[in-house]
């Protein structure tokens, strides 16, 4: 049974996709992933494209069904949530924001109508509607007067991302899956959105699963870090510990490729992204028989799959 102290627990989660009809191929997107998310923390899930990080987000949001394993929200297996009412309650508490804010909105509706619909569909008290919508917009530094009457295409990417955050505030979300939330924004807008997100998380006790491939961002905002490689979690723990003392060869390769303004890449070092496949194989071979092990407190590494 999952520990009640965690708001979300994932146990032995796997997802296999089938592609093709006549000669189907099976793609293992997520393989035996387990982790727990304490309430009120920010946890980043870092991996490259195709590593399965987005699949994990989708599984938690019940957009796809797991092939094996369990996801518990407040101790309850989410696969058991089937009827419409319960599902609605779940989505009131667990929400996702994705990379492309333009794709999230219905472009035929003005912002006020979008917020009205959300508010009404979750059956909140109608009397406070206007006041509450204004308050959440102000919380994300948007001017309600200048925002509500507009269509999504009249707003910038940064403003739309703020609107999505406002939406989660309107619904008292407890777990936010933020998938590459700011990848499409430019450098000066990014940090504002990030700060806003962390402030709100601390203020409202929201937990965030921050999915990204940017290690700099991960370090900046997260309490915990999980590194994914080829569908598996290979290293996880306290952010500082993982960054200061990376053990898995894949994590080490990632850190070597981060561009840093204080340090230049070593020109003499031969750097091939493909090489990591062999390094990981060799690492697993050396540590045969071992599995997930703690290397220090709050820092675990996959030694051999």
């Amino acid at each position: 049974m999952p520990d009640k102290n965690y708001i979300l627990t994932v146990e032995g989660l796997s997802k296999v996709f089938k592609s093709g009809i006549f000669r189907p191929r099976y793609i293992v997107a997520v393989k035996d992933v387990s982790f727990s998310l304490p309430a009120g923390t920010i946890c980043s899930l870092i991996g490259e494209s195709g590593s399965g990080k987005t699949t994990i987000g989708k599984l938690i949001l019940k957009l796809i069904q797991p092939t094996a394993g369990h996801i518990y929200y407040r101790g309850r297996e989410i696969g058991e949530i089937r009827n419409k009412e319960e599902l609605k309650k779940y989505y009131q508490k667990v929400q996702g924001i994705f990379q492309d804010p333009f794709a999230t909105f219905n472009h035929l509706y003005r912002i006020d109508r979008i917020f009205d619909l959300i508010y009404d569909s979750f059956g909140y008290d109608r009397r406070n509607k206007e006041e509450k919508i204004h308050r959440v917009l102000t919380d994300v530094n948007l001017d309600p007067g200048r925002t509500l009457g507009r269509f999504p295409h009249q707003l910038s990417g940064g403003q739309l991302q703020r609107l999505l955050i406002a939406r989660t505030l309107l619904m008292d979300v407890e777990i936010l899956i933020a998938d590459e939330l700011i990848s499409m924004l430019d450098a000066s807008t990014r940090i504002g959105i990030l700060n806003l997100l962390v402030d709100l998380c601390k203020k409202n006790g929201m937990s965030i699963l921050f999915i990204t491939h940017d290690l700099n961002l991960g370090y900046y905002i997260s309490d915990y870090t999980m590194i994914m490689y080829k569908g598996r979690l290979v290293e996880m723990g306290n952010t500082k510990k993982v960054y200061q003392n990376p053990v898995h060869p894949y994590t080490r390769m990632l850190f070597r490729s981060v561009p840093d303004l204080n340090r230049k890449w070593d020109k003499g070092e031969e750097f091939l992204p493909e090489q990591v496949v062999h390094e990981v194989k060799e690492f697993y071979r050396r540590h045969q028989g071992r599995h997930f092990e703690e290397v220090e407190k709050d820092h675990r590494v996959l030694f051999c799959d």
Binding site: H213, N216, Y220, P273
Partner: protein, 205 residues
Amino acid sequence: MDRGFLTKIEERLRFVNLDPSVLDRYPMELSGGMKQRVVMVLSTILDPDFLIADEITSALDVSSQRFVATLLVNLREEGIIGSALFITHDLSTLYQIAERIMIMYAGHLVEIGPAEEIIKRPRHPYTKALIASLPKVGVAYRERRLSGIKGTPPSLLNIGAGCRFRERCPYQGGQCEKTPVREEINEEHHISCWRWKEIGSDNIA
């Protein structure tokens, strides 16, 4: 196809660490990093004097980013390309490979100079703010909160005269209503800001 040309293509593919068998594959069968390398082979096969590389690393994973960016430098060092203009919003990657950096804001040149000087001793208020807003490993929200740049970029319709950054600039003053002229800090380093002398080059990072 001309045999000699095919050999050249195969050589170049090996140079970017791709197996020549990719020639028999469709683009959808390749990963993003591999596709970008194929594009680099395609666009440099005629040994251009000048290559414009527009956000070539933005859609890639960190490890492919490093590989592709370094590749550009190697192509130059091998004499395959002459010079390259690397257009990007990712200053940290740019700093790894560029000799000179030019910063633009709302269609105007803001500052141009040697990469080392721009990053370590930025002079223009926009360059300073931009560098200060970059998250980096070792800077955590809990310990040091970074600040973004207030406001949003101006609309370019009927923008009129004046420094285009002035609305968001902490040093905004009287002369800023006039379009700044390009001045020389030293032979290599130029800037468009009325107040660069009083602002100085104290680093923020």
